[in-house]
Amino acid sequence: MSKSKKIILYTLLVLIAIVNVFPFYWMLSISLQPLKAVYAYPPQFYPKHPTLDNYRQIFVKYNFFRFTINSLFIATIAALGQLFTCSIAGFAFARMKFRGKELLFGLILATIMVPLEVVIIPEFLLMGKLGWINTYLPMIVPSFLIGTTGVFLMRSFYENVPKELEEAAVVDGASPFMIYWRIFIPVSRASLSALFIISFLINWNAFLRPLIYLNSKKLYTLTLGLISFVGEFSALWNFLLAGAVVSVVPIFTVYLLMQRQFIEGITSTGVKG
């Protein structure tokens, strides 16, 4: 590549990067300033006297610590559940014979694109009947059990596991569950961690379910805590953006540590699903 081409390429890449990173920079910058500085004109491009006071306030006064724990708990349990549901079903669809297999798998595929807004109304009535409104259960149970793309992903992976691996275990007298648990789970570690990451992300960022199911503040997730904050303090941008930073930091940390799995999760669930 010629030098001038390289310069053009890097200029473009940097310009796009600015558009992508700028909002995060402002989020952070404002979250470190007192309200007075936020409303200063002209606006300050960096915090002149950075302070952690906003963070202290939202954690101490406004329950953000609790919201964070709630989100972590819900997203972890839901994602782990989805791993189990999808891997064991994927195993059966890939390696076992049973009546109605094609039909049931077809039904799973057919519901991949159904938007949550379509099923949420009957689901809400069902949760009401079960007495689960204002508990964590509506955020956990459906995600735990539904994994359309996950089942698809795990089935594709398990179909390609060599037969010899399975046969060796059969000779040793292992039951199908043992074969699934002791052989298939370990060989699919990469797919499973990709699936976990994607599922965790979706549940961590989920909004509609917490919004309609949760009433008591102490159960709020971070997304819901943040939006209720907007309603109460719509002009307190320093608090709002500090809250946004709190919701972003944990998921960014996971993302930076596990970038490869993120990318894999998207290409394998996205491209094929």
Binding site: M96, F98, K101, N205, L256
Partner: protein, 290 residues
């Protein structure tokens, strides 16, 4: 492997509960509800097609359908071409690619609520960054964006596209990496320029991915509840109300569950139609390679 006939059913049991109780069941139940006047209070009665007829006669409904379509018309082309450009730029194999990729992907992992809040600030009428820049450039009275009927829907769709670009960029990158390096090398030896290489090699071979991205982005564009709720709550008035938000309003603010269910059937038909289209035309439109 030897097992009793019922064992596979035990293995898929959890997934089947998910499928029937939380997917198919609600789908059919919502279909049934759409023919009733179900509300949160009182007992539901059968009203036949009345909900549908009411909506079809209601000009507000058509306005909302138009908003929904406009949202897609803004969102899908930006995704389709924008994320392809990002992917092609990142696919040149120059140093620093992983860093840029990480930055471009950052909005994807951020919650829609956090994205919505920070962009609300940027687009703020008085203290917002954008209007400060516009005033500095000499524009005396810049629009108030999110509280302006003309702009609110456009801004929301643009912000949503900003959030989703990185996701489709990853899908394009996977597609680009499937194109054999040798083809590029051969073209370069023959003296083809960058633009010719893009038009004659990249573009034809990326068409299957483009088609896939278009379908995915189209479906994605209807799932706009989170971003509409956080940025405008459908306002001002109904200026940025889309079908997804309208369903929520009817169900959980007005508690008209029956009407909300019939609205959700419109959404289902649209998304279902796109999926069928995808299924039928995939092989015909797309130049598949091996």
């Amino acid at each position: 492997m030897r097992y009793k006939w019922y064992l596979p059913y035990l293995f898929i049991l959890l997934a089947m509960v998910g499928l029937f109780v939380f997917r198919l069941g609600p789908l059919f139940f919502a279909g049934g509800m759409s023919f009733t006047d179900w509300s949160m209070f009182g007992s539901p009665g059968w009203v036949g097609l009345e909900n549908y007829i009411e909506f079809v006669k209601d000009p507000t409904f058509w306005k909302i359908v138009w908003h929904t379509i406009s949202f897609s018309l803004i969102f899908v082309p930006i995704i389709l071409f924008g994320s392809l450009i990002l992917a092609v730029l990142l696919n040149q194999g120059i140093p620093g690619t992983t860093t840029f990729r990480a930055m471009y992907f950052a909005p994807v992992v951020t919650s829609t609520v956090a994205v919505g809040i920070v962009w609300r600030w940027i687009f703020g009428a008085d203290v917002g960054m954008l209007n400060f820049l516009l005033r500095t450039l000499g524009i005396e009275s810049p629009p108030s964006w999110l509280s302006d009927r003309q702009f609110s829907l456009v801004v929301v769709a643009l912000v949503f596209a900003w959030k989703r670009l990185g996701y489709y960029m990853i899908i394009y990158l996977a597609g680009l990496q499937d194109i054999p390096r040798t083809m590029y090398e051969a073209a370069r030896i023959d003296g083809a320029g960058a633009l010719a290489i893009f038009r004659k090699i990249t573009l034809p071979l990326i068409t299957p991915t483009m088609f896939f991205v278009m379908i995915m982005a189209l479906v994605d564009s209807f799932k706009n509840f989170d971003i509409v709720y956080t940025m405008t709550r459908g306002g001002p008035g109904t200026a940025s109300t889309t079908l997804a938000y309208y369903i929520y309003q009817h169900a959980f603010e007005l508690f008209q569950m029956g009407q909300a269910a019939s609205l959700s059937m419109f959404l289902l038909v649209i998304v279902g139609g796109i999926s069928v289209l995808n299924f039928v035309y995939k092989s015909r439109w797309v130049n598949t390679q091996g």
